[in-house]
């Protein structure tokens, strides 16, 4: 077998690999930037719930021969609002609200998949991701929207930090807690819609959860944890793309398993430090 550096250099000659690396890195940063707020507010599974919603929306888009990304983003945003409202108005706990919406969406997706017999193969690629076959227009949309998400998180960083630590105090300070909750829901919906191309609807929540919980094993400050989680996220995506290319493994699964490996390593190191 050829040296890894040669294989990586060879991989980088391909346009589809370069696209995957660019889109994957930007989406990875988005996932980790949002992950820290969602994990610490115990909303980790909202990613999972919205990913299930996106499964249904992809099925709708494929049935209508429309662009899955352009259909998924608005519908997922609406679903996130619905989850927030169920949480507030129906006095349901967050996990119950997410469960209701996501299971309904999956049922709808399965029903649509049974109606549209021709697109089941495409739908499978959204279930488990297919970043290596990402199209040029999807790369452009992903890059632009990822930069918007990253900018919005950085611009509102202090307010989101206060909201995450102590929502009641953030409300007393007049930081627009309601507005920030909506912003977080919108940004998460966009990121999920973009991220399902990388690891698929089944695995997207891992991109939100793993980098943050791995970084939590090391860093002490909030900003430090945020940066570290972004580094873990991007590293796992880059490495995952190369490994999957070299060994011909499914990319999404490799990325998630790399994230899991990083977490176990970080957890082990922390345990050793404590002894």
């Amino acid at each position: 077998m050829e040296p890894v550096t040669v294989l990586i250099a060879e991989a980088l000659r391909y346009d589809f690999i370069r696209k995957a690396l660019l889109a994957g890195s930007l989406i990875g940063i988005c996932c980790s930037f949002l992950g820290i707020f969602l994990v610490l507010r115990k909303y980790s599974l909202i990613g999972d719930g919205l990913a299930h919603v996106s499964f249904a929306t992809v099925a709708i888009a494929l049935l209508l021969s429309a662009s899955p990304l352009l259909v998924t983003i608005p519908v997922t945003v609406l679903a996130s609002f619905f989850i927030l409202k169920l949480n507030e108005k129906a006095e349901l706990h967050g996990d119950a609200a997410i469960g209701l919406v996501s299971s309904t969406a999956v049922a709808l997706g399965v029903l649509l998949a049974s109606l549209g017999k021709g697109f089941n193969v495409d739908l499978m690629s959204y279930l488990f991701g297919s970043i290596l076959v990402i199209r040029q227009e999807d790369v452009v949309i992903s890059a632009v929207l990822s930069l918007v998400v990253i900018f919005m998180v950085l611009y509102n960083f202090n307010s989101l930090f206060a909201l995450t630590y102590d929502e009641e105090f953030a409300r007393v300070l007049g930081l627009g807690a309601g507005r920030m909750n909506i912003l977080l829901a919108v940004l998460t919906s966009i990121t999920i819609s973009l991220g399902i191309r990388i690891v698929g609807t089944m695995l997207i929540s891992s991109l939100i959860i793993f980098p943050t919980v791995t970084a939590l094993q090391f860093s002490r400050g909030f900003k430090g944890t945020l940066l570290l989680s972004a580094c873990f996220s991007v590293a796992c995506i880059l490495l995952g793309v190369f490994i999957s290319y070299i060994l011909n493994f499914p990319t999404g699964a490799v990325i998630v398993l790399l994230n899991c490996g990083c977490f176990l390593l970080a957890f082990g190191l922390r345990r050793l430090q404590k002894r």
Binding site: L40, N158, F161, Y165, E168, F169, V172, S219, R220, F222
Partner: protein
């Protein structure tokens, strides 16, 4: 629900708010903080008093015990300045100096880079007090701030509040179930039971016949004995 509440606070007042569970204490402070809008009536402030910048709020510490939360003491205290900021709410070099000053004042400098979740209950409460004081509020509202603290730390905490009230003239509203301790530090009492039952000095509270009737056989003397036998160096004496 809370009704029939009318009272006036003067600048520099130190008022203890007490009452049974569900009596409306938290509802009252939420209305003052602007988190709840009264169904009827008004809460009026001096023209030069602006909400939220002029009010500092310290919640119950029990809500904030999250060991994994990755925030340093300095980051938590800086949060108190955000109400004064607009747009992206970026903090300046001057803001960071304000944070360092309040950390020095409350003797928190040695732990300024520690993770909040690794601190003791007393240290955490001091950090949250620093977060509240960093914006130089004119009024402090505290919701059972000492309920999770041991007696020694509780005593220290009450002494810090007393200093803020007496030396800096900060108006304080303090919710507590510990009516006996309140008498040693607060100057006035506000007693609620879904409506205003009593508002006046602690001395008046102890001698009030209305309160004696309200409390029944044990009367308020169970809290006031030191006040009544003259052995208390209480704030209103």
């Amino acid at each position: 629900m809370l009704s029939d509440v009318s009272f006036t606070l003067a600048a520099g007042d130190y008022v203890g708010i007490a009452g049974p569970n569900g009596s409306g204490k938290t509802t009252l402070i939420k209305a003052i903080l602007g988190l709840l809008t009264p169904a009827s009536g008004e809460i009026l402030f001096d023209p030069d008093f602006s909400r939220p910048q002029s009010i500092g709020y310290l919640p119950q510490i029990i809500k904030l015990h999250d060991r994994i939360f990755p925030a340093k003491v300095q980051e938590i205290v800086s949060m108190g300045l955000l109400a004064q900021k607009k747009g992206s709410r970026r903090l300046t070099r001057k803001d960071r100096l304000c944070v360092l000053n309040i950390l020095k004042k409350l003797e928190l400098m040695p732990i300024r880079d520690s993770r909040i979740g690794n601190l003791s209950g007393g240290q955490q409460q001091r950090v949250l007090l620093a977060r509240t004081l960093v914006a130089s509020p004119r009024m402090l509202i505290l919701d059972e701030p000492t309920s999770a603290l041991d007696p020694k730390i509780r005593e220290d905490f009450y002494n810090i509040l007393k200093g803020l009230n007496e030396q800096e003239g900060i108006t304080i509203l303090l919710i507590s179930h510990d009516i006996g301790s309140m008498g040693r530090f607060t100057r006035k009492m506000l007693y609620l039971d879904r409506k205003l039952i009593f508002f006046g000095t602690y001395e008046e509270f102890c001698r009030s016949e209305d309160m004696t009737r309200y409390f029944g056989p044990l009367s308020q003397h169970q809290f006031c004995w030191r006040h009544l036998d003259g052995t208390c160096d209480c704030a209103d004496r």
